[in-house]
Amino acid sequence: MADPNAVKSTIKNYILEEFLPGEDPDELTDSVEMMTLGILDSVSVMQLVTFLEEQFDVTFEANEVGAEHMNTLEEITKLVCSKL
């Protein structure tokens, strides 16, 4: 059973490093709507999905790779944990 907090921390660190370099980590809360705000655009979502697949050895359905399931850190964490 994966620890959701550890999963979230890994994902958050990746997003901060790749897409929000230099930003205050506290600003990226669980509920920030990253796709709506453009933090995650169409290309960075592909990059994030590729990272998640390699990091957690999971796969995603086509309809999961969108704002409905991957808009916030909380949603991404929930989606990944559901596959572990």
């Binding site: 790749e18 796709m35 709506t36 453009g38 655009d41 169409s42 290309v43 960075s44 979502v45 592909m46 990059q47 999905v49 590729t50 697949e53 796969t59 995603f60 359905e61 086509a62 309809n63 790779v65 969108g66 704002a67 409905e68 808009n71």
Partner: protein
């Protein structure tokens, strides 16, 4: 990775090759000159199972994996010289059938997929607009929800199959202030109120694949025709484009095989300065480069398809395949034409048409420049 074909796969590939050679090439030169779509050929391909290669049997497809599918399309491209027809089939498969399969409701799949697989319906994808090409998500076509309908306004350009399509997957924004997240996809059927097709594009190559502009003037689309959830447009288009980039040029690998064989045959029979021209190192070297391009293109194609079959996302692999196959196809056609000299420049040898057809592959499904931008981004650059 194991790319050896089973006996069953070999039989399927051979059957498609024979069908293509026997049924799809007559009158091509004239159709190319007229810019004419081969509807009869379309139907023959459908009857051979091509339109539904990767679609589940319950929807009328053959239910094949991605690797087998590209392997069959490769043979189609080898046997069928009509690259425009093959292009139209690919657009239909990857940008209409595939998103319907993965984002459509059960009712939508049952309603459209069997008739798309049988060739009765022709599908197309409507994304590009006059001011949004590579920057696809800056589109301006709007959708407004009114009761049990969406009302679409705007226009789309360079729509493959546009003038013959029975249904189009149309991307429009419900809320421009949300940027890409405001985009949704809708299945718009021919004959919908406010839907019109304008003109027929007069293209340089793949002239037998119809292309037109589409207008939506208060075009009414039932709510049940929305594909996926509201705001799913980016996910849907990314999905379509990834499949398309991975698979659309499978047939080009077959076409490159054909160009290579034609060129080797010519270099072994044409004599100048008292010997076969293939004996001249500069000619031989060009042919070796052609062979290298064909094999590396095939390797990237098979690898992307194989990875897809393992359930992995193939964003970078699809972009690499698209980029390399398109660039290789153009270079192969150029080399074939150059080695054939004046004869290659003449229409009768059909190499000049291959070059015209190949050039488009650097542009559609994302230009070579966009593929490089995408790959660089996915590498974290």
């Amino acid at each position: 990775m194991d790319f050896a074909w089973s006996a069953e796969q070999k039989e399927l590939r051979q059957g498609i090759l024979e069908m293509a050679r026997g049924s799809l090439n007559d009158g091509l030169r004239e159709r190319d000159e007229r810019g004419e779509f081969n509807r009869e050929g379309w139907q023959k391909c459908a009857e051979a199972g091509i339109h539904g290669l990767p679609m589940p049997a319950e929807y009328g497809g053959l239910g094949l994996d991605a690797l087998t599918t590209v392997g069959v399309l490769e043979r189609l491209g080898y046997g069928c010289h009509d690259n425009g027809l093959v292009f139209s089939i690919n657009a239909h498969m990857w940008t209409v059938e595939m998103p319907l399969l993965h984002f459509g409701s059960d009712e939508q799949k049952k309603r459209w997929l069997p008739r798309l697989c049988s060739g009765e319906l022709i599908g197309g994808n409507a994304m590009t607009e006059p001011a949004s090409g590579s920057d696809a998500y800056s589109l301006a076509t709007s959708a407004e929800k009114r009761g049990d309908r969406y009302v679409l306004n705007g226009n789309k350009v360079f729509i493959t199959n546009g003038s013959v399509a029975d249904l189009l997957v149309v991307y429009a924004t419900l809320d421009p202030s949300k940027g890409a997240s405001g985009i949704s996809a809708f299945v718009v059927e021919k004959g919908s109120p406010g839907f019109s097709v304008v003109g027929e594009a007069d293209k340089m190559g793949i002239r037998t694949s119809p292309m037109a502009d589409i207008f939506f003037d208060d075009c009414e689309v039932p709510v049940e025709n929305r594909l996926g959830a509201e705001g799913d447009g980016v996910a849907l288009f990314t999905h379509s484009m990834t499949w398309e980039r991975a698979c659309i040029l499978a047939s080009a690998v077959g076409a490159m095989d054909r160009l290579l064989e034609t060129t080797i045959r010519y270099a072994k029979t044409r004599e100048q300065f008292g010997q076969r021209i293939g004996k001249f190192q500069m000619v031989g070297s060009k042919i070796v480069d052609m062979k290298l391009r064909v094999e590396t293109a095939r390797g990237l194609l098979y690898r992307a398809a194989w990875l897809r079959d393992q359930g992995r996302s193939i964003f970078i692999d699809a972009a690499l395949a698209k980029l390399h196959i398109s660039e290789s196809w153009v270079r192969c056609a150029e080399d074939a034409l150059q080695i054939h000299g004046g004869y290659g420049y003449m229409r009768e040898t059909e190499i000049e048409r291959e070059l015209r057809d190949a050039l488009g592959s650097r542009i559609y499904s994302g230009t070579s420049e966009i593929q490089r931008v995408l790959i660089a981004s996915l590498l974290g650059l």
